[in-house]
Symmetry: C2
Subunit: 213 residues, 2 copies
Amino acid sequence: MGSGGSSVLELAVLGSLAESSMHGYELRKRLSSSLGTLRAFSFGSLYPSLKRLLAAGHIAEESPAEDVDAVPLSSKRSRVVYTITATGKERLADLLADSGPQSWSDDGFGIHLAFFGRTKPEARIRILEGRRRRVEERREGQRSAIARAADRMDGYTEQLQQLGLEATEREVRWLNELIATEQQLGDPGPATAPDPSGAKPARRRGGADRRPS
Amino acid sequence: MGSGGSSVLELAVLGSLAESSMHGYELRKRLSSSLGTLRAFSFGSLYPSLKRLLAAGHIAEESPAEDVDAVPLSSKRSRVVYTITATGKERLADLLADSGPQSWSDDGFGIHLAFFGRTKPEARIRILEGRRRRVEERREGQRSAIARAADRMDGYTEQLQQLGLEATEREVRWLNELIATEQQLGDPGPATAPDPSGAKPARRRGGADRRPS
DNA sequence: CATCCGCTATATCGGCACGATACATCGACG
DNA sequence: CGTCGATGTATCGTGCCGATATAGCGGATG
């Protein structure tokens, strides 16, 4: 439904540029460190994505000699600073509210989570529940795979399967707590003021299966 | 070094066909279930891979009306049965012994593990240690990412990072046990008979970060 | 008994992410 | 003063993935 976007990169780039304008290289650093070891984001995918966003008018190149002319520093190396546009912000809002399949994927969910600060509480819950559903499906698949192949499977592989299953189970538990917290925050009772004050969920520990590298 | 192969699929296909000849559709089922929820392996990648292996002479198409002519059953639907060739078996041996980077990757490691039964003990240890090194690097990256970004990071993302870190730590522990077991099996003492009897490591429980779906 | 649904089975196409690589400029180090 | 390692932008080929097309077949449903 919504706009027929595609890549996870789009959300990551738009979300990052919404916080502050920057050039490609720094963007990559932010995405690789701030968003964690979550995803590599090579230039081979970043620059094409920037081009696409540029063509769509969601971002714009910012000419040098800007507000901060106080620092001419050395020389201006050929660096292109990207800024999000008005339509880009609309697009970002759409992407943030989108709880479609791509928001449940391993990569997509991580990105969505990183921008939960900008996401409306209702969308948060939709995304979290979608993710939980997805992970639960995976869990069932793993369980049946282990039960089904317990005999004809290599002992090594079975251990690996078991490992993955437990990681999945931990993620489900984590999501459950997260959803519960979010719902408490969202409705402290029927027909009551929303109260969007402090939204940080209580810090806890758990286990999940991110896919870095 | 070795032969300049590429995809993980090659090993998966060759390894599966070494156990028994079969056609594409069944191959996919095996890879999706027997190898677990580990990897999807769509036809869009399977058939091209089969073509490549066919062109390289590593597999061959088996004409119908074979040994089991006792079951003409219904009709013969257009099905192509693939069989591994002599050169294919050599190639498989190379791939199994290869402890290069692709055997440390999330996907590649799972495949290698699935065929550990066919893998020589020395190669097993090399692969396991390579994988451990890789996962340890990931762990360090996650730790520093959490330490570095503890403040400027979203609380949600930090939790997710924490989750991933714990999963990684569990995988390291698991690998450590696996390696220890393997080494015990490999050399019960210097200059002693190998004793390749029961190779199954003791069944235990742990957690890891496979990346299905 | 006809039709429709879903499984088996093979195959291709477009999109796109990734790793490698190619350029440039700069700062620092010996 | 030369070279090494960052910074920085950009492209190319390889190859995977999801969707899609086609088609025979078996059972269910009306």
